[in-house]
Amino acid sequence: MTTMPTPAQGEAGRVSLTLCREVTCIRALAWRCDLPITTDWPALAGALEAAGLVPRAPLGSVIRFDSPAGDEVLLVTATGRVQFRVHYAVPQHERKLAAERLFQLLVYAWLRLDPRAERAEPAPHE
């Protein structure tokens, strides 16, 4: 498990975002965090596209993006699950860092569109 800038909001609706290895992760290729299902997904998708990710055709309730480096970001809007798939060509020792970059990009995009983010404060690292 690793830690990243973690937006935490005040009492009600407190959200803690943590990057962790995905359950099916093989050699650190897949990583995960969970967003509130109340997230404004179309707005988040727009923010991610503006941040440089390339949208792909959605799959059911899954919004999919490619990064310019070939990584993937998948947003499951029905459950809030986010999966970061680092490209398999990235050397093993660099995969965690690559996942952290994607996570950071997502967090900043999410913070920009959530009005509660004004009250965000760092959460304890896990």
Binding site: T24, C25, R27, L59, G60, A78, R81, Y88
Partner: protein, 417 residues
């Protein structure tokens, strides 16, 4: 003609074809285990020879059909198209430089070698090459490009990414040709299916399978000719390869080492277990599945229905759930599998049930349904596999009917011990 336009679907039997030659999807865990099983049974040298020959024969069937459909007639056209097909399948991007007298092939990204290094490379030192499939492909592509007979070219891999070389390299040399066997094509396959039956939860299974088949239609190799999907490396592959390796091996063991047959059959069954645990398990835990079907519920009937749907979605045939009693009994039936047409065409009627892959898969489906806590995000690690399948047995499987033996259907009964 685009490669994807060569795809075909026998929808009611969940069988998929490329230029009318059957293909299915398997993940690298299964593919590596399958190859290891062949080597364990025959020894490394003979295992490699059998695997290379099987790939050679299977890709001759496919490429001959592709070239005919695409109207590829010149050697350059054929070699280029063959390489594109191989990459499209997720088998890797192979650079082939050959004449009618042989040549070389090389790649830094082949499904087997790359995935082996990814899975085992940091823990195991390997000296033998891993890419018999690419070797067989390279030989077949060269022969067909120059209108040479079957086995006129031999391919040997002498450098391999799995053995820590920077690239895989193959030498292609002249060999003694012979007449190829008739292809196992769609028309042949259609002779060895029976009308599809409805099983438990049929409507939901059919609907999910159709969605997964549609999703898989969009899957193809990337710029390196690899497919990373569902947290595994996936490849479209030829049943002819799996079937020839399995049945040539088992027949040979029956002829020469009869005492070893039960052990080898158990290994063949275990390959089916590995497939369900790794491929099906990773599909069930994937975001794609969550988006298409929903998050794992942990309900055992769901897991069993979903596994039947996944089998159909990967092109394994029409698997149906015939009976299910939680923690006691599961009966899977198949009106088609990717094994039957090959066996009946090549060997005639089997003397006993021979569908080792589905036997193991049925046992694993019961185990995944009853023993995995899906809602707790299980890690599908090797340790978990060992815990589930190599501890005290909880279930046993018996194939009670086999279409290879001439029975009207194939049936697999899993009972609690």
């Amino acid at each position: 003609m685009a490669i994807e336009d060569l795809r075909g679907l026998f929808a009611e039997q969940s069988l998929t074809f490329l230029a009318e030659i059957p293909y299915v999807y398997h993940c690298h865990h299964y593919n590596l285990f399958h190859d290891q099983t062949i080597d364990d049974a025959l020894g490394e040298e003979e295992g490699t020879r059998v695997r290379t020959a099987a790939a050679h024969n299977a890709f001759r069937e496919l490429l001959a059909a592709v070239f005919a459909k695409a109207g590829a007639t010149t050697p350059a056209e054929r070699i280029s198209l063959a390489s594109e097909v191989f990459a499209w399948m997720g088998q890797g991007r192979l650079s082939l430089s050959a004449t009618s007298a042989g040549g070389t092939a090389r790649s830094a990204s082949l499904h087997y070698g790359f995935a082996w290094r990814e899975k085992y490379g940091s823990r195991v030192k390997r000296t033998e090459p891993a890419d018999a499939v690419a070797a067989g492909f390279a030989a077949a592509a060269t022969e067909l490009a120059f209108d040479l007979p079957s086995d006129a070219i031999a391919a040997v891999e002498h450098k391999c990414v799995a053995a820590r070389d920077a690239e895989c390299e193959f030498a292609l040399t002249p060999s003694t040709g012979h007449a190829a066997k008739p292809a196992i094509d769609e028309a042949t396959v259609r002779r060895y299916v029976v009308p599809p039956l409805r099983g438990l939860d049929e409507d939901r299974i059919s609907q999910i399978a159709a969605g997964l088949l549609e999703f898989m239609r969009g899957v193809q190799g990337d710029e390196r000719g690899l497919v990373a999907a569902f947290s595994v490396f996936v490849a479209a592959h030829l049943p002819g390869y799996y079937n020839e390796t399995v049945y040539e091996t088992i027949h040979r063991v029956e002829r020469t080492m009869a005492d070893s047959v039960p052990a080898i059959e158990a290994l063949m069954r275990e390959a089916g277990q590995v497939c369900v645990f790794s491929t099906f398990g990773n599909v069930l835990l994937s975001p794609e599945w969550e988006g298409l079907v929903g998050p794992p519920t942990g309900v055992s009937t769901d897991v069993i229905s979903f596994c039947a749907a996944i089998a159909r979605g990967l092109g394994f045939g029409h698997w149906l759930v015939s009976e299910y009693e939680p923690r006691k009994r599961l009966v899977i039936r198949c009106t088609s599998t990717y094994e039957v047409a090959f066996y009946r065409s090549r060997y005639g009627l089997a003397t006993k049930p021979r569908s080792y892959f589905v036997q193991g898969a049925a046992l694993a489906i019961m185990t995944l349904a009853e023993s995995v806590k899906w809602t707790e995000r299980p890690q599908l690690t090797n340790n978990f596999y060992v815990e589930l399948f190599r501890g005290k047995p909880r279930y046993r499987v018996e194939q009670t009917k086999c279409m290879m033996r001439g029975d009207e259907i194939s049936e697999y009964v899993v009972d609690a011990l």
